[in-house]
């Protein structure tokens, strides 16, 4: 298997369409014949990131690169940024308003969940500038 690159623009205005990029990545990984565990780990992580982009950052971009031994994901947005990353990484910490909770999100589980399902996770964020998250899931 050689390398494969996927790019998606995530619309921040349309909650209904959130998850399209993750769904598409999941389908591609399935077609490539990767194991269900790897597919699931990537799908959940990208989806959490995609939902965060829509509910916290007014959209963004997702790049996914599949190499023979690793899947790299880059999530970028130009939203409000995260002032305290270690706080945001704690289970249960959420700034989501009630209307987001009514949609079934905002439990403060997304970022810890990404950490749990990936082999490597790095977050860079500058308040007022945006947030970038890099993920790696190894193909064992």
């Amino acid at each position: 298997m050689s390398s494969l690159q996927l790019h998606f623009d995530v619309d921040g205005e349309d909650f209904t369409r959130a998850g399209e990029a993750s769904g598409s990545i999941k389908r591609t990984l399935k077609e490539l014949g990767l194991t269900p565990d790897i597919i699931r780990n990537v799908a959940i992580s990208v989806y959490e990131g995609e939902i965060n982009m829509v509910i916290h950052a007014n959209g963004g971009m997702i790049d996914c690169e599949v190499l023979p031994d690793v899947i790299n994901v880059l999530l970028r947005d130009s939203g409000p940024g995260i002032a305290d990353i270690s706080l945001a990484m704690q289970e249960g910490y959420s700034t989501a308003p009630d209307n987001v909770r009514d949609l079934g999100f905002g439990a403060g589980m997304g970022l810890p969940n990404i950490k749990k399902y990936t082999d490597e996770m790095e977050i860079y964020s500058t308040p007022g500038v945006g947030t970038t998250i890099r993920l790696k899931v190894y193909i064992k």
């Binding site: 269900p36 699931r40 959940i44 079934g104 969940n113």
Partner: protein
């Protein structure tokens, strides 16, 4: 238990997926919080929920669930149904509320997950 048994126990109406009703399911999860489903579901095939939006289907898709039951008579719109079709996730609805639905399924042998 097969999905067809779920239909009987919950007196449910099938919205999509008649052709998949012989799927065998062992465990289920009941939640209106998709955040929790994403964080805690491992291996449960059925999602019972009172929440109705497209992210319910997306969430089920990401965690490899193959059936969604909308409780309390909730009705999904056409967009939600189309999304479920594209990932072959069975949709059904029951007039029963969440507690009753889960209790009945549990009494018939369906189990929850192992948690974390």
């Amino acid at each position: 238990m097969k999905l067809i048994d779920l239909v009987k126990v919950l007196d449910a109406q099938i919205i999509y997926g008649h052709e998949f009703l012989d799927r065998e399911v062992l465990s289920a999860c009941g939640s209106d919080m998709m955040s929790d489903v994403l964080a805690f579901v491992k291996g449960q095939a059925v999602l019972l929920t009172g929440l109705v939006n497209s992210q319910v289907v997306r969430t089920a898709e990401m965690v490899d669930m193959n059936c969604i039951v909308f409780v309390r008579g909730k009705v999904p719109d056409e967009g939600i149904i189309e999304l479920a079709k594209s990932c072959e996730i069975v949709l059904m609805r029951t007039e029963m509320e969440m507690f009753t639905s889960c209790g009945l399924l549990y009494s018939k042998g369906l189990r929850g997950g192992s948690g974390k």
